[in-house]
């Protein structure tokens, strides 16, 4: 039946869409795809824009210093399908996010990565 086939193919495609992130501009080569870093901190800004959405988080390192993280995702038209929205993060939200870090983090003021797995906002796990 068409609906059954559609469901299966949609799930399969869903897997494919998320396992092949777009990141047209730089690809995965600049991210350390073998590593996962868990960033815990406070949201300072959530930018919902083309070509990428990105989240600014102030986290604390082991010495208690503030580390400014930038965590990116794809464009709104891509991630809105997976339940992400312009309003899901607000400045002041406490978040925990799993991040694939960039390989070349030359900017002293910032650490940069992209969303990888868990997203927890004010204690609630984000489930699309």
């Amino acid at each position: 039946m068409r609906t059954k086939i559609t469901t299966l193919s949609l799930v399969a495609v869903g897997l494919l869409v998320l396992s092949i992130p777009l990141f047209a501009h730089h690809g995965s080569a600049v991210f350390d795809t073998d590593k996962t870093v868990t960033v815990k901190g406070t949201v300072t800004e959530w930018v919902w824009a083309n070509p990428h959405c990105w989240l600014l988080v102030d986290a604390k390192d082991d010495d208690g210093n503030t580390v400014h993280w930038i965590v990116e995702n794809q464009a709104p038209a891509n991630i809105a399908n997976a339940g992400w929205s312009r309003s899901m993060f607000k400045p002041g939200d406490e978040v925990l996010v799993d991040v694939t870090p960039g390989k070349n983090l030359t900017t002293a003021a910032r650490t940069i990565g992209r969303f990888k797995g868990r997203v927890v906002i004010n204690g609630k796990v984000f489930k699309p």
Binding site: V11, V13, L16, V30, A77, N104
Partner: protein, 327 residues
């Protein structure tokens, strides 16, 4: 005055006093939801994601595309159609010939190699393309970014789309084939593409394709119905600035693209695309065969522009610092 009436009056007064607040409160609580329903729709909108969907995956409830079922309208493509669910996002190159290695699955060695990028050619790739020697040379001259085996960091990439040049045709259906809107007049099919907000015209007035066309990003398209449910489009005259797909596949100005829009039922359309470019490829080949799903007629397509200023802002903050060429 009898007690029940007094009580009723007091109750009414209280209700009257507080009801505007109640209404305002309700309106505020639902404002975002109602706004989201009417505007900036996505193919898997809200209600479609409830129940039965694995966390983290875009999900469509089987009933989401239920629509009217039954036969499609005759000789009418008009509507809002989503290609995302059917595999429209082709980040590693065209769906039928992605530039990936065989066995490329999550966590595999082939996937790791693809993430590394930087391969010099497409040797060993799944479903290789029949390049001529000119085609092979042109491929190597293009430096793609993204998710194909030859992808490079953006500072080295040469994809015109990455610097907000027009997407062009057929790249607009070969990379992010998302939502489209089709409208029909007596002489045209008007094709609106969500990806980077582009449009093209398919002439149905019987005119012939131009013989020596001035090259255009989207070329020149003519279309005709071969039966009540099958619409065939030919496009020529595409300039050589645009790429064929996100893996940097080339085309010459002699490229001819054939599309078949085939209505399967009221809610489902199949889009097949064939590439013919004897300069670059020794024989024609099929780029994809994708299923498009009809969306509700009140679906408001989310805007997606490539803005040079927004792209520059992103590159300054994120894109450039993470590139290995950055100082």
């Amino acid at each position: 005055m009898p007690k029940p009436i007094v009580l009723a009056l007091i109750a009414s007064l209280i209700l009257l006093t507080f009801s505007p607040i109640l209404r305002a409160q309700t309106a505020t609580m639902h404002a975002d939801e109602s706004a989201a329903e009417k505007w900036n729709n996505d193919p898997f909108d809200g209600h479609a994601r409830t129940g039965g969907c694995a966390p983290g995956l875009p999900c469509a409830d089987p009933s989401f595309y239920a629509g009217k079922k039954g036969p499609p309208p005759r000789r009418d493509l008009s509507g809002i159609w989503d290609a995302t669910a059917g595999g429209g996002v082709q980040a590693g190159g065209v769906a039928a010939h992605p530039a990936v290695y065989p066995g490329d699955t999550p966590g595999s060695e082939a996937e790791r190699k693809r993430f590394q990028g930087g391969q010099p050619d497409e040797k060993g790739v799944l479903n290789p393309l029949p390049y001529t020697s000119a085609g092979e040379a042109a491929l190597k001259a293009n430096k793609p970014t993204g998710q194909s085996i030859r992808a490079v960091p953006s500072v080295l990439g040469t994809d015109p789309v990455n610097r907000c040049d027009p997407v062009g045709f057929p790249y607009m259906v070969n990379f992010q084939f998302l939502v489209i809107e089709l409208a029909q007049t007596k002489d045209q099919v008007i094709y609106l593409s969500q990806f980077e907000h582009e449009w093209r015209i398919i002439w149905t007035d019987g005119r012939e394709l131009p013989k020596d066309p001035e090259p255009r990003w989207n070329g020149y398209s003519v279309g005709r119905w071969v039966d009540d449910y099958t619409f065939v489009v030919e496009t020529v005259g595409m300039n050589e600035k645009s790429w064929l797909d996100h893996a940097g596949r080339p085309h010459s100005k002699d490229l001819r693209v054939t599309e078949i829009f085939h209505l399967l039922d009221y809610d489902t359309m199949e889009h097949t695309e064939t590439i013919s470019d004897p300069k670059m490829y020794t024989q024609p080949w099929t780029a994809h065969k994708l299923i498009l799903h009809r969306q509700s007629p009140d679906f408001d397509i989310r805007e997606m522009f490539c803005s040079p200023s927004e792209t520059a802002a992103y590159n300054k903050l994120v894109g450039d610092p993470i590139n290995p060429e950055s100082k």
